[in-house]
């Protein structure tokens, strides 16, 4: 089962071998969670989304025609689910002034652990500040290393738009971090 291709697993599932689905989940669970975690910024939402993605996949795998790769398909479901979460949630004010003040106050500490945590928090807050579309493009390109053609298939956007959005996302992150550090 481990050496089988995605499409083999899909076909086996279509032929009634449910354990093929198990292998698909094992194969993609960390990727799906990781993508959702970086887009949504917290474990709880990422966990909900990851679960929901595979439930949706289970119900829709029978319709999978192989026009795109399974990977693209799963990522598309993930992105859509993340979008739903972002839409449903109130636009939170992600960063409280005090929180940032504390964050920076601790930045003088010599312990690397603290520094790493602060930097991580700041980056997460900067990413959370991005509009949903830019956030998804940024995460998929920067962290997930997907090429533009792949992202284009997942989001159904032209490559030119993706590139411009990617650049703007970086600029916004840069501005956020600069502002917070001042």
């Amino acid at each position: 089962m481990l050496n089988k291709s995605d499409i083999d697993l899909v076909n086996e599932f279509k032929n009634g071998n449910i354990s093929a689905f198990d292998e698909i989940v094992r194969r993609y669970q960390r990727k799906v969670y990781g993508l959702a975690r970086k887009i949504l910024g917290n474990h709880e939402d990422a966990d909900d989304v990851a679960q929901e993605v595979f439930i949706k996949l289970y119900y829709s795998l029978g319709d999978f025609k192989g026009q795109s790769s399974l990977f693209t398909w799963i990522y598309r479901i993930t992105v859509n689910e993340c979008n739903n979460v972002l839409r449903k949630k109130k636009i939170r004010e992600f960063v409280q002034i005090d929180e940032i003040a504390n964050l920076l106050k601790f930045s003088q500490t010599p312990e690397q652990e603290f520094l790493d945590k602060e930097r991580k928090n700041l980056i997460e807050k900067a990413i959370e500040k991005l509009p949903p579309k830019q956030r998804m493009i940024f995460v998929m390109r920067f962290f997930e290393d997907l090429d533009y053609e792949e992202i284009s298939k997942i989001l159904n956007k032209p490559v030119g738009t993706l590139k411009a959005n990617y650049f703007h996302a970086i600029k916004k992150i840069q501005k956020f971090i600069k502002d917070e550090m001042q």
Binding site: R30, Q51, Y58, I123, F142, D145, F167, I170
Partner: protein, 182 residues
């Protein structure tokens, strides 16, 4: 190469995802793009170190079984699951909140005592309708999300079969979720 074209590829260039002599040459000539490049390069080196805290191995060991449990649960509810689209119908200005029906019959006190209840007895095809005028302060989208939450959490139609289970509903939590969490 124009500045705009360079900028749209600058993050990829800074992260080493692409190599381009044209961009190199442009950066040598164009000071504003060069400054932009240096800023982005320093930012991406910080962002590149970012990683979220991975869930434990226990989480991953249980992930698949959690997905499968949910799938089984939904399959068991398949008969009533078909009601879901009705929740979404835009024509339903009155939001369906089935749990209130149960609350009223279970004797649990509820603050919104003016709630006007319309019960359709053919629950298998239409669900339990509650016209919640007192929720008018909330947007339809919010209430729709509440319905989904309630549906998922309490599996309402099943509860209706065993009405006494409504006693277990944490009313405060539900109301607080409706009013605050979306």
């Amino acid at each position: 190469m124009k500045c705009n074209d360079v900028r749209n590829n600058l993050v990829d260039f800074a992260t080493g995802k692409i190599e381009s002599n044209a961009i190199k040459q442009h950066l040598e000539k164009c000071e504003s793009c060069r400054v932009e490049f240096l800023e982005i390069k320093s930012l991406v080196s910080v962002l590149g170190d970012y990683n979220f805290e991975e869930p434990s191995e226990f989480y991953w060991a249980n992930f698949l079984s959690r997905v499968k449990r949910k799938i089984t649960k939904r399959m068991n509810d398949a008969g009533v699951f078909a009601l879901k689209p009705a929740f979404l119908a835009p024509s339903l200005s009155a939001i369906i909140i089935g749990f209130l029906f149960g609350l009223i019959f279970s004797g649990i006190s509820i603050k919104q005592n003016e709630i006007y209840v319309v019960q359709n007895f053919d629950i298998r095809t239409t669900g339990v309708f509650v016209k919640s005028y007192e929720f008018s302060e909330y947007s339809e989208e919010t209430l729709e999300q509440a319905v989904f939450y309630l549906y998922e959490k309490y599996q309402l139609p099943n509860l209706d079969v065993e009405r006494e289970d409504y006693q277990q509903i944490d009313v405060d939590e539900v109301l607080s979720r409706i009013s605050n969490k979306f």
